[in-house]
Amino acid sequence: MESVLLRARGVANSRDITTYLQAGGWEGFKKALSMPPEAVTQEVIDSELRGRGGAGFPTGRKWSFVPKDHPGPKYLICNADESEPGTFKDREIIEYDPQMVLEGIAIASYAIGAHTAYIYIRGEFFRWAKILEEAIAQARAHGFLGKDILNTGYDLDVWVHRGAGAYICGEETALIESLEGKRGFPRLKPPFPAVVGVFGKPTVVNNVETLACLPHIMTRGARWFASIGRPRNTGPKLFCVSGHVNRPGVYELPLGVTFREIIFEHAGGIRNGRKLKAFFPGGSSAPVLTADEVDVVADFDSCAAAGTMLGSGAVIVMDDTVDMVEVGRNLAHFYAHESCGQCTPCREGSDWCLDILNRLVQGYGHPSDPDQLLRICRFASQGMTICPLGDAFSLPISSLVSKFRNEFAAAIARAKPIPPKKLPVMPWVGKDVRFGG
């Protein structure tokens, strides 16, 4: 397949706006500006573009939830928080083609009637925040951003906002809270951001990759986009392949290839001639697939049918040296650390899972552990929590337990007796340090 999203990779001076313009850049936005906003939205609906941020929600549909007659401001947010373990595609786009992201932002903002857009970028992405700042300055200088863009009367300002290092701030409502200057706590939904978003105004949150698709949809048409991939799962997709493969990296492939193609053809197969054991098809929040399931098609619907999800398209590959209990511990460690702590099942459950898995890894397993893990995961997912982070840790961990139960059983069979509990000791604080008595 020809490169669409990554076409600038390897091109000299690819970030520069003149390079982008030579490649036909900003034409999509010009075309959008010549159409009524509803027609732009319709074009995106027709392209069947689905969100690349994780949930795979149809992008045009999401835009259409924004109230048309809302009197006050509306906002577009580009979600560049990219913190899902195994995911490194948005960074790649920004690295080589920041103008494409900006053009996508401009198209989406125009379609929903926003005059302010924010790029919420992961705090650690210092370099890429700078790249975006420079790109914005260039786009402004060329009149693609700012007041009265290309004499159409349309105004748009784009601001870069850096996060402060929390995975949860990638969740769109936590992102919005964080953007407002508050603690990154996900909000209760409904109302959805499209109705009540940042500063209480209608807001659309889209992923970097989602937005990067828009210039191409505008220039080449919805029909072209929809011709890539399979029905309802259209367009090019970036797959971040990591783990025990020979050629880890970001691959742009049409939706609808199989994971076998991704792992064995594009990523060069398992390194050191070892065997594939399992892989996470869509980031660490997606339930694990085993080597037997490697022929699953890598698109949203097929992954869902296989009981997992395409998520962000991060394929984390594990060879046969990997201990699945340790994998579980690793995941639990991440999610227990990243749970925002608001709601009971996720706060307590993620940490409890971590405790159990830590114990298992240290060789103190107990026969009740697998079922206990499954019970925790059952009640920390499926709508028991405020945001999907509950599902994000529960579903992969329970998939590990159910698919590799033998490994858990083996760990338990090897186990030493659990040492007696340490009673929590209350230190005697005779004086309050702060008040001197």
Partner: protein, 531 residues
């Protein structure tokens, strides 16, 4: 008005009512920890899960609005039961379960839920050591609130209180996930003027009030509806008492005045009600003080009163409408004396009502409004000095606390020149100048009505019997009236006087003594609901 069914009971509720309140109206209790009727709904604790017919997932009742035709299952759903058991298992996984030494025991939502809904039956698969917060187990957050973070269930009620009600933003979460804990913003002391409310809203023993902690088990306390004497706003309170001792004030729900809040100043007046320095009626003779039984007092005092040609009386904005009415009738109308009520502002206080509007105190006196309604002359400090400066054969001070000026040496000098009757509860400089000292009972041992500065007539009830020979002021006035031959004023309960008020004063017309206590919430859960 949506009509819905909850656990088989049909109920019609106002538009926008959430399912917890709708269930309450239907007589079904849905448990909750993070929900509070006067705070924003956050849906954090997840114990309020209910099943709604036609929806695949369980919903949280606190954040779901009742809709027409909804069929909701709470106690009758097996799925709900399992989900709630799981939430309890999560919450208790790290909860210290130190109820026997926890001061919240007996009024803890977590304990209540564990014991009532779950019948005290628990099976937890937890093999791990509990996470603890070393150093945060008994920490003084500010002057009144002590924190034990181990018990915290992360409901964020305390934080929301400081953000939405007191608006100091004093409390915040620190850290994340299971290590999140409550701290003051920037580590400053928690000296919010409403700080103890954070402990009120805390459903568990994570935040407790230093003044009350370990003084009495919650289940020993009886609660009597009353009104805060702290200022003219007139917040509704419960006087919590046991064996004649007042232990604390807690907020009593009143959406129009204090919602479910109290300021720290008002709240911590509670202990002062136990003070009774003056316990016997006594008369000053040349040889010194002579104690007299009440009957003697009235006989002798009546002679003194009759002998006085000019009579001046200082009443008080702390007196009830009934007491003020009796004082006006007896001293001003029948005996043709002069009667004044001193006014003073004191520290300004404020309170937030149920619509989140601030109310500001008009004075430090809880019943200045009542005195005004009764047409009694009010005087400021200068007016009071001038009033006392004139000569009179007999001075009556019904409350030495009526104005700070009465505690000054100047005031003592002014009243010393003539015989003076003082009704008092606590020691006051004025007692040096008194010829008669009559022990008056505290608010806790009195009953009557006050008018708040927003014009609401509010009743307070008798919580404890008066100590020693102290008597409520209305009784002292009624018995004095009888001794003076005005048998018609010799009431045996203030409700009689109230009836006269209703009949004679336009601003009291139509009121009913029996309904003036406000809603009486008695069940424990209701108390938590309101405080």
């Amino acid at each position: 008005m949506p009509k819905l069914t909850i656990d088989g009971r049909e109920v019609e509720v106002p538009q926008g009512t959430n399912l917890i309140e709708a269930a309450r109206l239907a007589g079904v209790e849905v448990p909750y920890f993070c929900y509070h009727p006067y705070l924003t709904v956050v849906g954090q604790c997840r114990i309020c899960m209910v099943e709604i017919e036609g929806q695949p997932r369980l919903a949280i009742a606190c954040a779901t609005a009742a809709a027409d035709g909804m069929v909701v299952k709470s106690a009758t759903s097996q799925r709900v039961k399992e989900a709630r058991e799981a939430v309890m298992e999560f919450l208790l996984a790290n909860h210290p379960l130190d109820c026997p030494v926890c001061d919240q025991a007996g009024e803890c939502l977590l304990q209540d839920h564990a014991m009532s809904e779950q019948g005290g039956n628990f099976a937890s698969g937890m093999l791990e050591t509990r996470r603890t917060f070393p150093g945060l187990e008994r920490r003084l957050l500010g002057p009144h609130v002590i924190q034990n973070q181990n018990r915290c269930i992360h409901c964020s009620r305390c934080i929301r209180f400081t953000q939405e009600i007191s608006e100091t933003w004093a409390l915040t979460y620190k850290n994340r996930g299971n290590n999140a804990y409550i701290d003051t913003f920037d580590g400053r002391p928690f000296d919010d003027p409403f700080s103890a409310c954070a402990a009120d809203v805390c459903p568990v023993g994570a935040l407790t009030v230093r003044e009350f902690r370990f003084r009495k088990r919650a289940w020993k306390l009886s609660s009597t509806p009353s009104v805060c004497p702290g200022c003219s706003i007139g917040c509704n309170i419960w006087i919590d008492h046991h064996e004649r001792i007042v232990y604390r004030f807690t907020p009593r729900e009143n959406p129009e005045i204090n919602a479910t809040w109290l300021c720290d100043y008002g709240r911590f007046l509670s202990e002062s009600l136990n003070q009774q320095d003056v316990v016997h009626p006594k008369r000053r003779l040349k040889e010194g003080w002579q104690k007299l039984p009440w009957a003697e007092v009235f006989r002798a005092l009546a002679l003194d009163v009759k002998a006085a040609k000019t009579l001046r009386v200082v009443a008080s904005g702390y007196m009830s409408n009934e007491e003020l009415y009796l004082a006006r009738e007896l001293f001003a109308r029948r005996l043709q004396g002069e009667l004044v009520v001193p006014v003073f502002m004191g520290e300004p206080r404020k309170m937030k009502n149920g619509r989140r509007q601030w109310l500001y105190s008009q004075s430090a006196l809880p019943n200045l409004e009542g005195a005004k309604r009764l047409g009694i002359r009010t005087v400021d400090e200068e007016g009071l000095a001038r009033f006392l400066y004139g000569a009179a054969d007999l001075t009556v001070v019904l409350d030495p606390q009526a104005h700070p000026f009465l505690a000054t040496p100047e005031a003592v000098q002014l009243v010393k020149v003539s015989p003076t009757v003082v009704a008092a509860r606590v020691d006051a400089p004025l007692l040096e100048a008194a010829t008669w000292v009559l022990p008056a009972a505290s608010l806790a041992a009195n009953e009557g009505t006050w008018v708040s500065s927003t014009g609401k007539v509010q009743r307070f009830a008798v919580a404890v019997a008066p100590p020693g020979e102290a008597r409520p002021l209305w009784q002292i006035l009624a018995l004095l009236a009888r001794a003076l031959g005005f048998a018609d004023l010799a009431v045996t309960t203030p409700s009689q006087v109230f009836q006269w008020l209703v009949e004679s004063e336009q601003s009291f017309a139509g009121l009913d003594w029996n309904t003036l206590l406000g809603a009486e919430q008695t069940s424990y859960r209701e108390r938590q609901h309101v405080g």
